[in-house]
Every structure is written in structure tokens, then in C-alpha cells.
Amino acid sequence: MTETATAPTDAARSTTAPVIETRGLTKRFRGGRLAVDGLDLTVPGGSVFGFLGPNGSGKTTTIRMLMGLIDPTSGTATVLGRPMPRAARTVLPEVGALIEGPALYGYLSGRDNLLRYDRADPTADPRTRRARIDHALDRVGLAAASAKKAKVYSLGMKQRLGLAAALLRPRRLLVLDEPTNGLDPQGMREIRSLVRQLAAEGTTVFLSSHLLDEIEQVCTHAAVMARGRLLAQGPVAELAASARGRLAVTTPDPADAARILKEHGLGGVSVDGDRLTADPPPATVDLADLNAALVGGGVRVRSFGIEGGSLEDAFVALTGEGFDVAG
């Protein structure tokens, strides 16, 4: 299993310098709650990085520390090679962010919202402002609705406008916290293709999402957090491969099947109706022999095989829980 903080080799470091790097990053809120605990995160340049974890695992606090909104209690964070929050003024113009959903001025039009956010950036050129806003609106497919007041926008439109604000300037890093929240399947597909497009242009995308298959589809790298700690990080393919699947048997005789599997030394046997799962056998055991043993023992087998090995299995194995569970 790719354990925490797989230190990048020197070769990797020189080709893709990390865009985000934290060392021992810790945040303890007033009142003593430890939100983030000794985080060592490395986001390689040019990657699409999936940031996973149940709700309340410290993802958003981490993102806020990276963006200079929250001061860490201890540890360091560098973004684009410069320390945060100290270098916020030089780093943040190159970073687009969507943090915990969009926030808009309901009494301003979509376009005026972008105008306001762009004017807040002292390094944004006012001469190109109009063109940049048009371009950003186009990119998220909101050009036609840009004159409407933001308060009449649907959640999906607000999400798009939030994305447009993150895309007002060419960015080296995009931080997207749940970017597909509130979008319909078509909108989600558009955002995924936008993320791929941006990544192809060389922008590093740091993406937190509830949807594991989404991460699996677009991300090259991922990290998993739970209870404020980083459990694993690395290329998505490695993480998924590290997850051992489960042996699954469907049979009308689950009790006999469970007994025979246990006799063959398999652990973690659990029965649910006519379906039975167990930890996969060691590599020395041929699955065919196992199946033959079941049949030989009088068990009528409907289906037999190894299931999973997906990112979701890796996630469940790491956090011991599914998504959307922890409070």
C-alpha cells in the first residue's frame, strides 16, 4: 500500500516541482478541536490532484490554509514554491479558487460579480478586464445569462459563475472544492472536460470531490484524508491497485460456503443473504481450486470471483467508512 507521504524522488522533483507542498501542517481551532494534524501533502506540478475524505475530515481547513485564509497552528505550506500565507500577494493572483461553493452578490448581475472580483485583484489589468470576463463567462457557458441578477441563478449557474471567477486570469493552479455540486449530469460532464482542458494547458488542478468515480475519471493523483490526517497519497492508478478486492460468492448455501472458505484459511468472511464475501486468498492459492473445493463440499455456486480493486475500495479500506458518512 502506498503509505503516507511517498517522498518524491529527486528526479521527479526536478521535472515536476511540487505546486503545493506542506510539512507538518497543523490547525487547532480555538476550543482545542484539531482539524488538521501534521499534514505532509505534495501536489506535483501539472497533475490533476484529487483530494478525498469524508465530510469533516479537514479538507476544507487544509484548502483555507493553503489560500491564506486561516493561519496554521504549526507546520509550513508552500504554494507555487512560495510560503503561504506570507506570500499571498504574489501567489494568489496565479491561483483560481472555488472554496466551499460559490458566493455571489445577489443584487449584482453575473457579469458585475466577476467585475467586482477582478477589481479586487490589484495585479489584474483593467485594460483587458472586459475581454477576460467575456472569456471566463464563455468558458463556463454562462455568457447568455451574464446580465441577470445572481440571485435568480440556479445552484448550477452559481457554481458556473464561481468557476468563471476562478478562471478570470490564466492560472498556474486551480483549487476546486466540490466543483460539480448542484450541477446536472450534463453540467458535470462539461466541468470534467473543462478540467481536462485546463490540465492540458498546463494548469495544475487541485480537486476535492464527493464523487469517487469522478476523481477516478479525471485525476492523475489523489490523497485521502480522514480525521485530520493524511492516510495516503500518490498516483491514482497506484492507489487503486493497492486496494485488494474481495472474494465474492453467490450461492443458495451460504452457511456451508462460509465454513469451507474458513477451513481454507480465508479471513473476513461475511454473509449477506445468498451473497458471501471474504478477504481474497493469498497469491499461492489458485481461485479455481477454491471454487472446486466449494463445489466438492456440496455448495451450489451461482457466481464466484474477485470484485473491486477500485479507488472506492482503496478509500473504504483506508477510512473504514463510505463517503458522506462522517459528520
Binding site: 483555507r64 493561519d71 490589484p122
Partner: protein, 310 residues
């Protein structure tokens, strides 16, 4: 993409009336930093809430004017009531003689409560309102810069003070000229000055009243950095105003009165003396400056070290 943008730049630049950099090739211009100031002021003044506050303020002189007009019957019948030397600056008795006095009467009526209440709403909402709307985090990652954002907020609150005061004064001038005769002005000292000179004094008075709100505006901004609830900050700021006004009216507490921000507010009447009495006025300005320095620093210290979790 950058090429396309560069091409578009050439076509859009002449239409953009934003701060214009001196050197076109300069990648970053110090003047661009003023963009947020313009954004703050236009955003504040374009809100429906601001219109509502200004409409209420503009209605006060109308109510006073009509009330005085009804009370005195035909109006314009100078009852020989000369300058009320000893009394408070109510100015109401002079309004029937000279409509210009409605400006002073309206400012005297709105300064204790209505004007600061409106300022309290705008100042209290300045940071806390952005926090409760969630827009604060996006302004800060833009990155607006915390000190820069706070300065822009304070500047826009001060602009509102000025606009609100001049709305009261302009409304009063219009109503006064419509309902009452205008002409030479009798000062509190008893001398007469021309109507033109009177207008200058009225404008000066409005400026003094606006400046009287500088300290309270800083206090409201400080309160605004303490909470993430816009409504809460507005209520707390207006509550503070009322509390301090009550404290200022309790004679037994006269020891602390010179340090209460509204204590010298009514000194604006001294502008209407001949010559202008500057003593109380300058005490007022010093006190406002002190409040602005103390609570401005407190707001800065709080806001620049605060964890933005909203």
C-alpha cells in the same frame, strides 16, 4: 489564449474608463490598486438598501418643513423671533423667516439618531456582511489584501457619511426654498450675512456633520470585524450608538462625557456664528480623529489576524 486576449485588449482599451496606467507596456500598475476602492463605493451606493436609507433621510426635512408650515399657518409671518442665542440649535423658529434654516434644522434633527443609524448599518455590514455572504473569502483570495480591503471599506463608509449628510442638506434646501421665503441670513451672533454666504455656511455645516460621523464609522467597522453576521454587526453598532447617546445625557456621568463620540456633535451650530467659533468644533474633530485612530487600529489588528472560516 493570451494572444487572443492581447488582440482584444487593443479593441477594448479605449472603452474602459478604469484607472489608466501611464506606461502601456507595464505589466502591473500601482494605480490598479484603486480598482477595489471604486468597486466598493459603486457597490455600496448601488444597493437597494442604500437607496432606502437615503430616501428615509431625505424625507426628514420634508416632514419638518410641512410640519412647520402647517403650524405657522400662512407662513412667512416673521414673528419677530430673533436669534435664539441661549437655546439649543433647533433653528425651527427661524425656518419660517428663511427657508435656508431648514438645512440647519434638518441636520440638527437627523444627527443624533437617523444619520448615525444609517452609517451604523453601512459600517456594521461592511466586513460582517461579506463574511455572512461568503464573498469575503473570494475577495481575499482574489487577492484583495486584508489591509487594502479594510481601507477600501472605510473609505466607502466615509463616502456614505458624506453622501447621506448632503442628501439631508439638499433635500432641506429644496423643501425650504419651496415652502418658505429665502434671503439674508441672521447668524446666531445676530449679524446678517448674504444668502450666498449663508449657502456656503450651510455646505460647511454639512461637511462638519459628515466629519462628525468619522469616529462612529470606525467604531462600526471594528464591530464588523468581530462577527460573521451582518445583521448582528449592524444591530450591535446601532445599539452602541443608542447606549452612548443615553450615557451622554446622564448628568451624573459628566466626567466621561468629553470622551463620548457624540458629545460635541451639536457644535456644528458654531459654524453659524460670526465669526465662526472653532473651539468646540476642533474638540469634535480631535475626538473623531482619536476614535478613528483607536478603532481603526483595532479593526486592522483584528481583521489582519483573523481566521476566515465563513
Amino acid at each position: 489564449m493570451s494572444q487572443a486576449e492581447a488582440a482584444l485588449t487593443a479593441t477594448t482599451a479605449p472603452e474602459d474608463n478604469g484607472p489608466r496606467p501611464r506606461k502601456p507596456g507595464n505589466p502591473r500598475n500601482p494605480l490598479w490598486t484603486l480598482g477595489i476602492l471604486r468597486s466598493e463605493i459603486t457597490t455600496t451606493l448601488r444597493r437597494h438598501r442604500t437607496y432606502a436609507l437615503l430616501a428615509v433621510l431625505a424625507a426628514v426635512p420634508v416632514l419638518i418643513g410641512i410640519a412647520v408650515r402647517i403650524e405657522t399657518g400662512g407662513g412667512g409671518s416673521g414673528s419677530g423671533g430673533g436669534p435664539d442665542g441661549g437655546g439649543g440649535p433647533a433653528f425651527l423658529t427661524q425656518v419660517t423667516n428663511n427657508g435656508l434654516f431648514l438645512v440647519f434644522a434638518a441636520l440638527a434633527a437627523t444627527l443624533p439618531v437617523f444619520l448615525p443609524m444609517a452609517v451604523g448599518v453601512v459600517a456594521g455590514d461592511a466586513i460582517a456582511g461579506e463574511a455572512s455572504g461568503g464573498t469575503l473569502r473570494y475577495l481575499l483570495v482574489a487577492p484583495a489584501g486584508r489591509t487594502r480591503l479594510l481601507l477600501a471599506k472605510y473609505a466607502s463608509v466615509l463616502t456614505f457619511c458624506l453622501v447621506a449628510t448632503f442628501v439631508v442638506a439638499a433635500s432641506a434646501l429644496a423643501v425650504g426654498a419651496l415652502l418658505f421665503p429665502v434671503g439674508e441670513v441672521t447668524t446666531i451672533s445676530g449679524t446678517r450675512i448674504s444668502f450666498g454666504e449663508g449657502l456656503v455656511r450651510a455646505a460647511l455645516t454639512a461637511a462638519v456633520v459628515a466629519a462628525s460621523l468619522v469616529g462612529f464609522a470606525a467604531l462600526g467597522l471594528f464591530v464588523s470585524t468581530l462577527t460573521d453576521s451582518g445583521i448582528g454587526a449592524m444591530a450591535a453598532t446601532v445599539g452602541l450608538l443608542i447606549t452612548v447617546q443615553i450615557l451622554d445625557s446622564i448628568p451624573q456621568l459628566s466626567g466621561i462625557h468629553p470622551y463620548l463620540f457624540p458629545h460635541y456633535w451639536m457644535s456644528f451650530a458654531d459654524v453659524l456664528r460670526e465669526p465662526v467659533h472653532w473651539e468646540e468644533l476642533s474638540k469634535n474633530f480631535q475626538l473623531q480623529g482619536l476614535y478613528a485612530a483607536v478603532f481603526g487600529s483595532a479593526a486592522w489588528a483584528r481583521f489582519t489576524s483573523k481566521d476566515i472560516t465563513a
